[in-house]
């Protein structure tokens, strides 16, 4: 009986705390509320937390300078666990409980795709920093993003492989559970074949896998000139490591997900290429400023998703300032007028609300101090 | 008329011959006792008869509902029950968390005349049939004087009543052969006496052939017409209670050989 009372007591306390939090969670009208939906727990939480932290950093900076339209900006962050259902719940909560009109998020394309239609219907401006799936901005005129589309990067790298590296045979190793990876694979393969190359091997793994030896052995047998690895740096560093251990000598290519690779991989990564809009090692002043501030506050080097989040916050808040309101119908026009250099490059928006920004192709090299770094190879502008 | 017949029925577990060459010929309406020391293979015989174990050799023939003898040695337990042979268990196997009435209703399950769709949607006929089942089950419980406990959970019944409930449940399958595995175990002498009467009564009332395993010799000797004695899986004696009780092999098996010297 006593045990039951204790258990009951714990539950009561939890609920009571919940109620108190909910009651005090309301902000005043002298603030501008921005909703954020991020995967801060679950399998991609390391990306989600960095992106969220970067957004928070941007907002704090803006608030320190006096905020937007003379008001302080208040962020209301909801976790989606990388679960489309939770993403939807978060969106509806932000829209109806917190009466937010602008939402930054979500992190991954599946979560974002789950809510684009709903956001459009509710008249909420949804700005995703990181969802690259081509279809994300199809849902309507209130959906924006600040990252590349899958198809763009796939095309760029396929083109680069054929034109600059004279490759004829390509292989792809991708994460079949991840739409970012499958989307890039599709566009890379299509472009590569269209330009006269052959895809000699397409292998996959399931997100979370750590062992790729089987696929690499198979790819090695197909003897490709280039190997396209459309995934984030953490997985890619494992793949490159295992590939080089097996003696696979194909040149490896990757998308912007590789950006922190130089911090994770060993020297076996040297000589590979990827396209990026951001590199923490870039000489660019804005980039260095951002990296410094982020490091100062959170103690780690921000990755590309953090940079994208940081930019997204700035783009949206500056547009609000320009529009003089956070009314999505007005704000969307202001956003279309964006034309400025941010951490991840100079950004304007095309008519379908995708950013028009050039991508840089970088080569992984060993720096003079022995550490890995990147070398600028060329710039590709969107058509 | 033979209703149950086994021909050289044998079963082997690992290297152990648990039952060897058992030949039974049970006539309609008989009440047969199957006795023998612990581990003699009595329950194993029941398990083969009811399809729980598949015999390694031999045949089992049982009269089905049409009166034909049918080989059942390869049938599943539920099919054998459907033919009209039901049983109770040595270590009571009631549906403990269900009510007494539900236990009996499950026994009655084979006689339910509506299908599951009717049950789900409570189509016409459901209530009528449900009422009939209910009445039949309660009537059976009444015979064993546990009707007033219909709505109690089976696990809350005292031991003796649990044994009775097992018999009621088996009767609900409407068998013509009933196998009782130690029906009086755990009962006091008074209860055992009552049980003897009940067993005799239901045999008449439901026109049953009964085989029972029992340790309580009072009960076995008191009601059985014929007794089969097993030891180490072999039949060592078969006959009337009086014959068996004086069979030296049986006395030796049962009371130990010391008795030979003593008696």
């Amino acid at each position: 009986m006593k045990k039951k009372l204790i258990a009951l007591g714990v539950l009561v306390v939890v609920v009571a705390v919940a109620v108190i939090f909910l009651a005090t969670g309301r902000g005043g009208s002298d603030t501008i509320k921005i909703g954020v939906i991020m995967s801060t727990s679950g399998p991609v939480s390391h990306f989600g937390t960095q992106c969220r932290d970067a957004i928070q950093l941007a907002v704090d900076e803006i608030n320190a300078r006096g905020g937007v339209l003379g008001k302080q900006v208040q962020l209301i962050v909801e976790d989606d666990e990388k679960n489309p259902e939770k993403t939807m719940n978060a969106l509806v909560k932000l829209a109806t409980k917190d009466k937010v009109r602008v939402v930054l998020g979500a992190l991954t394309s599946d979560c974002t795709l789950a809510i684009t239609q709903e956001a459009q219907r509710r008249g909420i401006l949804l700005f995703t920093p990181t969802s690259t799936n081509d279809a994300v901005t199809d849902a309507g005129d209130l959906i924006f993003r600040s990252c590349f589309k899958d198809s763009f990067q796939g095309q760029v790298m396929a083109q680069f492989a054929i034109e600059n590296l004279n490759a004829t045979k390509a292989a792809v190793l991708y994460d079949m559970n991840n739409d970012y990876s499958t989307g890039l694979t599709k566009s890379f393969e299509e472009t590569f074949v269209a330009l006269g190359g052959t895809v000699v091997a397409t292998e996959s793994y399931a997100g979370g896998d750590k062992d790729f030896n089987a696929q690499i052995t198979k790819i090695k047998a197909a003897d490709p000139d280039v190997l396209f690895l459309p995934d984030y740096y953490n997985t890619v560093s494992l793949i490159i490591n295992q590939a080089r251990n097996q003696g696979l000598d194909a040149i490896m290519l990757g998308p912007d997900g590789w950006d922190e690779l130089v911090g994770q991989a060993g020297e076996e990564a040297v000589g590979n290429y990827f396209c990026n809009h951001y590199s923490p090692d870039a000489d660019d002043e804005d980039v260095q400023e951002f990296v410094r501030k982020y490091r100062e506050r959170y103690g780690i080097t921000p990755n590309a998703l953090a940079a994208l989040g940081y930019d997204a916050a700035y783009i949206v808040l500056e547009a609000i300032e320009r529009a003089g309101t956070d009314d999505p119908q007005v704000l969307k026009e202001a956003l279309m007028e964006t034309n400025k250099k941010y951490v991840t490059g100079h950004i304007t928006f095309d008519e379908s609300h995708n950013p028009v920004k050039s991508t840089t192709i970088l080569k992984v090299v060993q720096g003079p101090d022995g550490r890995l770094t990147t070398e600028y190879v060329g710039m590709v502008d969107p058509e | 008329m033979t209703v149950l017949k086994t021909e050289n029925l044998s079963i082997q577990f690992g290297g152990l011959m648990a039952v060897a060459n058992l030949n039974l010929d049970v006539k309609k309406g008989e009440l047969i006792g199957l006795i023998g020391p612990n581990g003699a293979g009595k329950t194993t015989v029941f398990n083969m008869l009811t399809g729980v174990y598949k015999p390694t050799a031999g045949r089992i023939l049982v009269q089905d509902r049409t009166g034909q003898l049918q080989d059942i040695s390869r049938l599943h337990p539920y099919q054998i029950t459907a033919l009209g042979m039901a049983r109770t268990f040595q270590n009571i196997r009631l549906f403990k968390n269900l009510t007494v009435l539900d236990n009996v209703r499950i026994g009655n399950h084979l006689n339910v005349k509506y299908n599951s769709v009717t049950g789900i949607f409570r189509l016409p006929g459901y209530y009528r049939e449900q009422k009939r089942i209910d009445e039949e089950c309660r009537a059976l419980l009444k015979i064993f004087e546990i009707e007033h406990k219909s709505d109690e959970l089976a696990k809350n019944l005292p031991y003796g009543e649990q044994r009775k409930l097992e018999i009621v449940r088996a009767l609900a399958t409407k068998p013509h052969i009933l196998l009782l595995d130690e029906p009086a175990a755990g009962m006091n002498p008074q209860e055992t006496l009552e049980l003897m009467d009940l067993i005799k009564y239901i045999r008449e009332r439901f026109d049953l052939t009964i085989i029972l395993i029992e340790h309580d010799m009072k009960l076995v000797m008191g009601i059985c017409e014929r007794i089969v004695v097993l030891n180490y899986g072999r039949t060592i004696a078969c006959g009337t209670p009086a014959e068996v009780a004086h069979d030296p092999l049986v006395i030796k098996a049962y009371l130990g050989k010391e008795l030979e010297n003593g008696a």
Partner: protein, 234 residues
């Protein structure tokens, strides 16, 4: 040596024992007899701590057992040969014996005890490294007893040692029980083979539906009409 008083045991709501009281004195063989389901095994389980007593007391060498865990009870010198033998079929004969000596720290004496068990059960020595599960029924029973002896018990509880054994083996086992007793170990024997049990016991208690209904000298009970009736229905 062992004194059980007004022991009540319940399984769920079912009362298995009704105020069972009995006593075992140093050096005796005492037997509990009765039909299946009478509660004999339950008594032994309650003494060894395998089932909890609802009320009553069990005192062994002036120590109350009812609140002790089974492994503590073994350490007091009370061992139990369970019904159905329950040897560890996945271990070898030797390892089974080792388990019997689990609580003991005196390696030398244990070694000596192995030898003693082997002299008593030469067949176990032959099958020392065989998996216990492959032994015959009689050998398993011997192993079960031998295993128990390895703990150097002062009192052994034996549950149906004759079960499922051929007559020749049964008498062999009973001889061994007598020998063990003669060597100074007290024995509480539960047996359905009443005559056999009474023939070696000093005293006996008859259980019926969880109650002690009869008690007395084994010899007297063996010749009593009541016991004969209870078993043969005569």
């Amino acid at each position: 040596m062992l004194k059980v008083e007004k022991l009540d045991v319940y399984y769920g709501n079912i009362r298995a024992l009704h105020e069972v009281s009995f006593e075992v004195k140093q050096g005796e063989i005492v037997t509990l007899i009765g039909a299946n389901g009478a509660g004999k095994t339950t008594v032994l389980h309650a003494i060894s701590g395998l089932v909890p007593a609802r009320s009553g007391s069990i005192r062994f060498l002036d120590q109350e057992l009812t609140a002790l865990a089974p492994h503590k009870i073994v350490q007091l010198g009370l061992a139990h040969v369970p019904e159905g033998r329950r040897i560890f079929a996945n271990l070898t004969v030797k390892e089974n014996l080792e388990m019997g000596a689990y609580t003991r720290k005196d390696a030398k004496a244990v070694k000596a005890d192995y030898e003693q068990v082997f002299t008593r059960f030469p067949r176990l020595k032959e099958r020392l490294n065989q998996m216990a599960g492959t032994l015959s029924g009689g050998e398993q029973q011997m192993l079960a007893i031998g295993r128990t002896l390895m703990s150097r018990p002062k009192l052994v509880l034996m549950d149906e040692p004759s079960m499922g054994l051929a007559p020749l083996l049964v008498s062999e086992i009973f001889e061994i029980i007598k020998e063990i007793n003669a060597a100074g170990t007290t024995i509480l024997l539960v047996e359905q083979n009443a005559q056999m049990a009474l023939s070696i016991a000093d005293r006996a208690y008859v259980l019926e539906t969880g109650r002690v209904v009869l008690q007395g000298e084994a010899q007297a009970l063996a010749n009593s009409e009541e016991v004969r009736k209870a078993y043969l229905g005569g």
